[in-house]
């Protein structure tokens, strides 16, 4: 059996201009498909990226909220600590002042005590001098009662000594009175 030879009937050949246009259209189609594919992949990636960022933003938002609460608490504690520090420093100043005033009073009291001691010593000295004056005058009176038994010159000398002693005692007493006068 023999096959009949196939004979293609020769058709009209496409014009060269149409072939070039078809080629350009094919290139354009491929390029458009490529761009579309790229855009599709890009969109998917951006969507995934956006979701990750949103998730991270939520995490940080929760952390910020937590930190804000902690900050508010810390600020409250800081304010309370400042108030306590202010109260403590005011109290320290008060105590330092009280200590200083007590120290002043103590020194003033000591000085007054020293003064009183001096005055007491002076008063004792004056009292002693006045006592010696009185004793001398009593002795002199006794001598004068028996004046004929003593030398007149001795009596006059003793009288001068007693008068001098009494004058000194009197001066000391007046000085003491002036010191005690307010």
């Amino acid at each position: 059996m023999t096959e009949a030879p196939v004979v293609a009937a020769p058709g009209p050949a496409p014009a060269p201009g149409q072939r070039r246009s078809s080629r350009w259209l094919a290139v354009l189609l491929v390029a458009t498909i490529a761009v579309g594919a790229y855009l599709w992949v890009t969109t998917i990636r951006w969507q995934r990226n956006s979701a990750e960022w949103e998730e991270k933003a939520h995490e940080y938002a929760e952390e910020v909220a937590s930190l804000r609460m902690q900050l508010d608490g810390a600020n409250s504690e800081l304010e309370a600590a400042r108030d306590q520090l202010s109260t403590a420093t005011a109290r320290i100043t008060d105590l330092a002042n009280e200590k200083a005033q007590l120290g002043d009073e103590n020194v003033a009291s000591q000085q007054y005590l020293d003064y009183q001691t001096q005055v007491s010593r002076a008063a004792a000295t004056v009292a002693s001098a006045l006592g010696q004056c009185v004793s001398g005058q009593e002795q002199l009176v006794g001598y004068l009662k028996d004046a004929e038994q003593y030398e007149a010159a001795d009596l006059r000398r003793y009288e001068r000594q007693v008068n001098a002693l009494c004058a000194e005692a009197d001066d000391a007493n007046e000085a003491l009175q002036r010191e005690l006068r307010p």
């Binding site: 070039r20 390029a31 990636r45 100043t93 002042n97 200083a100 120290g103």
Partner: protein, 248 residues
């Protein structure tokens, strides 16, 4: 009817334009996103700095100007008086000559009530100034200013008016004047910062907390007189300016 040549040229033009548009569009196509980083928190905040004034904090809540002031009790042979003073270094106090005059014993205490042991005391011959050396260290001391203040400059006085609590008063420099008490050589400063007996020896400070003078008197119209900084500096620089104080 259009000729084939013109149709071909038109088609090529359209295809070329579309191709050029496509290629131009590639330039504006969005890039692929970068991967999301695991941690975006910066290691140290760039614009965060310590709070203003943080370096002025003291260890116990008192200001530096309060910490350098001292109260001076002059125990005389017959009477008691009080005055103020301030530290210029760890073991040196400045006060007035009349605060330490006729003294049998000087007792110094700090802002918080601590007693400071006193060593030698010396007084200036040409100004109402005295230097007291201390055995114990003083808690704080200020800087001296660069120059005397000008009229209108603010002034802060830190001391113990009337021997009472540590007090800070403020005013401004009014100018210079001749010393009405003749206790100082040259002119003295006049300010309107309130002072009282017992404030003598207080430090007068400028706006930066630096010493500009030493309070030594109060005028009849309630202004205060200061030994100026320049006089203090001259006296401190002169080895012969201060002589040992005579007790009572």
């Amino acid at each position: 009817m259009r000729s084939p040549v013109r149709r071909r040229a038109g088609g090529a033009l359209v295809v070329g334009a579309l191709l050029a548009g496509s290629l131009a569009g590639c330039g504006v196509l969005p890039p692929m996103p970068d991967p999301v980083p695991a941690d975006i928190v910066p290691s140290a905040p760039a614009d965060l700095s310590p709070a203003a004034g943080g370096d002025a904090l003291s260890p116990d809540g008192f200001d530096a100007v309060e910490r350098m002031a001292v109260r001076i009790r002059n125990v005389g042979c017959e009477e008691l008086s009080t005055g103020s003073g301030f530290a210029v270094d760890e073991h040196t106090l400045i006060t007035n000559k009349h605060v330490v005059a006729d003294s049998k014993d000087l007792e110094v205490s700090t802002y918080d009530g601590h007693d400071i042991t006193v060593g030698a005391t010396s007084t200036a011959g040409l100004a109402d100034l005295a230097v007291v050396r201390t055995t114990d260290p003083l808690p704080s001391f200020p800087e001296l200013a660069d120059a005397d203040p000008e009229p209108g400059d603010p002034v802060t006085v830190v001391g113990y008016p009337a021997g009472g609590e540590l007090t800070v008063t403020e005013g401004e420099v009014m100018g210079t004047t001749r010393d009405p008490l003749n206790a100082n050589l040259g002119e003295v400063l006049l300010t309107n910062a309130p002072v009282e007996p017992g404030s003598s020896g207080s430090a007068a400070l400028d706006a930066k907390g630096r010493v500009i003078g030493v309070v030594y008197a109060k005028t009849a119209d309630d202004n205060s007189l200061l030994v100026p900084l320049s006089t203090l500096q001259d006296m401190l620089a002169d080895d012969t300016a201060f002589t040992p104080a005579k007790g009572c």
